[in-house]
């Protein structure tokens, strides 16, 4: 299917973030925050490697009305050979291009941990201020609330934190139900989104 034929889901958000244990609290913060904003988070976790991976990433991105790109992981990883991760800036590049070609279909947002660092790590983005989260769960949530404004139902960061606590506390059971070893697997991601939505229900329906 051609990308232009893909139906855009108005409340789907493509999440382009690091998938590692160190990032786990913020990974759960993005899920909880987006759920409270009434969105459906999407990730590339279920997309297998291989020649068609890029096509599938593009299709997933094109099906989402918004994308969130966290560029806070700029350091070298621990595994040899030590390299920075290029996937996140690469996928941001795809989103920027897609949005330029289809401004009514896509909007992208950049998140960072440290102020001014992006001016060095990705100076092509100068003129676009990232949402800063300072490596904090509440920082991610405030950033999401600043990026996405709901005139009739703007969620509260405290409520998002409450949902984050619930899914963090129940994480072992959620992973067991999903038959997953880590939260960074497709089935676990799906389960986390749904359980976060269940936990957020009382806030969304009041």
């Amino acid at each position: 299917m051609r990308l232009s034929e893909i139906k855009v889901k108005p409340n789907a958000v493509f999440l382009n973030i690091p998938y590692d244990t160190e990032f786990q609290p913020l990974y759960l913060a993005y899920i909880a925050g987006l759920i409270h904003l009434g969105f459906e988070p999407r990730a590339t976790l279920g997309i297998p490697g291989g020649t068609r991976r890029l096509e599938k990433i593009l299709a997933e991105l094109a099906g989402c009305r918004y994308s969130v790109h966290d560029l806070s992981r700029v350091q070298l990883d621990r595994n040899l050979p030590k390299t920075p991760r290029f996937n996140m800036p690469f996928e941001l590049g795809l989103a920027v291009t897609w949005a330029e070609l289809n401004p009514a279909k896509h909007s992208w947002f950049v998140f960072e941990q440290q102020p001014y660092r992006i001016q060095k790590s990705l100076s092509d983005l100068n003129g676009t201020d990232p949402h800063l989260h300072e490596g904090r769960v509440a920082g991610v949530m405030s950033g999401l609330c600043n990026a996405f404004v709901r005139p009739t139902h703007q969620p509260r960061v405290n409520d998002m934190i409450a949902t984050h606590r619930v899914i963090t506390r129940k994480l072992a059971a959620i992973l067991e139900e999903a038959g997953a070893e880590t939260p960074f697997e497709a089935r676990a991601f799906q389960s986390l989104c749904y359980t976060a939505r269940v936990a957020a229900e009382k806030y969304l329906r009041r």
Binding site: P10, E40, T128, F148, V166, Y194, R197, V198
Partner: protein
């Protein structure tokens, strides 16, 4: 200045959200149980059964009257 958008799309119901994720009803129930506990779902099921039973008995009474 950071980017900001105004979002006006309706928030999907829990059921619609679960379906959109591609979760079966069984999985949705089992995940909901993790968060809400078995008691809450059991109570909801009992309430549903009671309402159905009450509705059936009302229909039986109405049928007997006719």
């Amino acid at each position: 200045m950071v980017k900001q958008v105004k979002v006006t799309t309706p928030i999907p119901s829990l059921e619609d959200f679960g379906e959109s994720l591609g979760l079966t009803k069984t999985r949705r129930n089992s995940l909901a149980q993790i968060i809400l506990g078995k008691g809450v779902l059991a109570n909801a099921a009992r309430r549903h059964a009671n309402i159905r039973e009450a509705s059936l008995s009302t229909k039986t009474v109405a049928a007997a009257r006719n």
